[in-house]
Symmetry: C2
Subunit: 361 residues, 2 copies
Amino acid sequence: MQVNGQAYRCIWLEDDGRRVGIIDQTKLPHQFVTQSLVTVDDAVLAISDMLVRGAPLIGATAAYGVCLGLVADCSDTRLDEVCAKLIQARPTAVNLRWAVEKMRTVIAPLPLGQRLARAYAEAAMICDEDVQVNESLGTHGMQLIEKCRKDDGQPVNILTHCNAGWLATVDWGTALAPIFKAHEAGIPVHVWVDETRPRNQGAHLTAWELAAAGIDHHLIVDNAGGHLMQHGKVDLCIVGTDRTAANGDVCNKIGTYLKALAAMDNAVPFYVALPSSTIDWTSGNGTEIPIEERAEDEVLLVSGKGMDGVIHQVRIAPDQTRAANPAFDVTPARLITGLITERGTCPASRDGLLSLFPEHR
Amino acid sequence: MQVNGQAYRCIWLEDDGRRVGIIDQTKLPHQFVTQSLVTVDDAVLAISDMLVRGAPLIGATAAYGVCLGLVADCSDTRLDEVCAKLIQARPTAVNLRWAVEKMRTVIAPLPLGQRLARAYAEAAMICDEDVQVNESLGTHGMQLIEKCRKDDGQPVNILTHCNAGWLATVDWGTALAPIFKAHEAGIPVHVWVDETRPRNQGAHLTAWELAAAGIDHHLIVDNAGGHLMQHGKVDLCIVGTDRTAANGDVCNKIGTYLKALAAMDNAVPFYVALPSSTIDWTSGNGTEIPIEERAEDEVLLVSGKGMDGVIHQVRIAPDQTRAANPAFDVTPARLITGLITERGTCPASRDGLLSLFPEHR
């Protein structure tokens, strides 16, 4: 993606062929700052302090973290130590463990002298695969936007929730990939960006991505989407997913379910964009997915740029008020018009998913 | 209501029988500050700067504003001047015009010597009537909470949106009145408080009222209610309304519609509490109600207490991002279990409303 006229991925190998560059996402949207990771501990901190976030990007960062950890010492002992450090950086992140174990499986059987080069090659491959999957998903999703194209040249109005953009992946994103593709193809689009409380990933990241790409958008509070749909101001919804059950139920950022209900009530198509790596083939339906309860300060404190230009946190509730903070909700498959994957779009059902991924029959 | 062990209304006549006390609601929840209104200009500022807000309280403040304006001069010219000043304080507030015109109608026919005393008496009556209506509504609504009372002593879980508490009225509130009554009656209750973006009236005011009353509650983001209902954690919803159409459609704070959809999807009873003064008998259905689009800074800026203990505003979006800010949405009557009024609870329909208010047949 382009930032200030320059092409960026969210993670890249620097010119010395050793160090790894990332965007410090904690500074967005108010500052665009890149950072070099030099050691495995840098990678661990980038993940644990959420300089990088989003399941695919966490995985990619961990893969490069293994490389950084092996630069001076490729021994089995060191490999184990590096993998353990990375896995505990965010213990609940499924892609992190997956990426680290993939690296270990590839590296461990090799003689010491071949390990480092192969590690870097494998990390690059994990990144490239992520980009390819997302771009392919974007091309399929763009066709759904094209279908809503208007004869009078007015933009297609798309509502999205949270950030499933390129900042959550290596490039392209998931829910935003079809929007970037449509914009590139000259289809006029306008995006309603849910701010996505409590962490405001919509306001902080999605709005920033769209602004950087020159895509027309308005920030709205999470309360507003239903009203906009009642008044014909949303042509389709596209959201991402953290985990997709085998029956097509989708676990995504808290509040997704409410938008899906409003879409159904107003006959607005509601799509979920997902790389097939988010499908949990072992989970029969969404109610089996455990929902993470996060820290109450995410609700009680809001972060933003103060009048002095510096980032501040402010408390919005009385001191004695406690908060509850479920991080995700489950949108039942019955409310979902279709699932957009790297192999095409299918109904949100077991049969739908198996039609695209028959190897899981 | 009680604040720090002392009984308060939101507006009161001070001991000198002339000045009028109010709570400066712009300081809540972080500071409880009262203020004396001495002149009509004080009352105008209190309304326009939103030291007082909520339709019934604005009306009551305007009524006392007329009194303050007549203390030194009860002439017709002065009466007209005072009424005009107050009406333009917030031109869109229906109750404000209603209260001022009521005062004028009562005062204008009287000889000069009787006007001031009658003005104070009428303002007091407007306040007392508001309190009676809300308390009566609270008693009727409490019966619905009582019905959900659990044999095991666990609290009845009630979800509310925005602030329809005593701070929006002279006392008791509308949506919160049944909750205060239930708490007083010893029914264990727990309230899920929607923060209610963009202005955060839930976080700022509802949470503060419940904390002051010692009622168990948790603040939640507006995204969370659907998930809580899916998991059986909400026994009923009670919200207020800014305007009720004659067919039972309800226009309330943006986001109310989304909660009503979730309540219907999960068979959770969804009630709207309203003094009959909010019923617009001339409006056939909710789609005829114009929806106010408010300033985008309400979305882009969030206000709260900084680490230094001072109130700050922070910007949550990139500088180039614009926002849309519809202030209300319409919840169709089909999603509403019942309307709680000062005369009892009825179905959300024309027939339901007319059964309680036959004088509007």
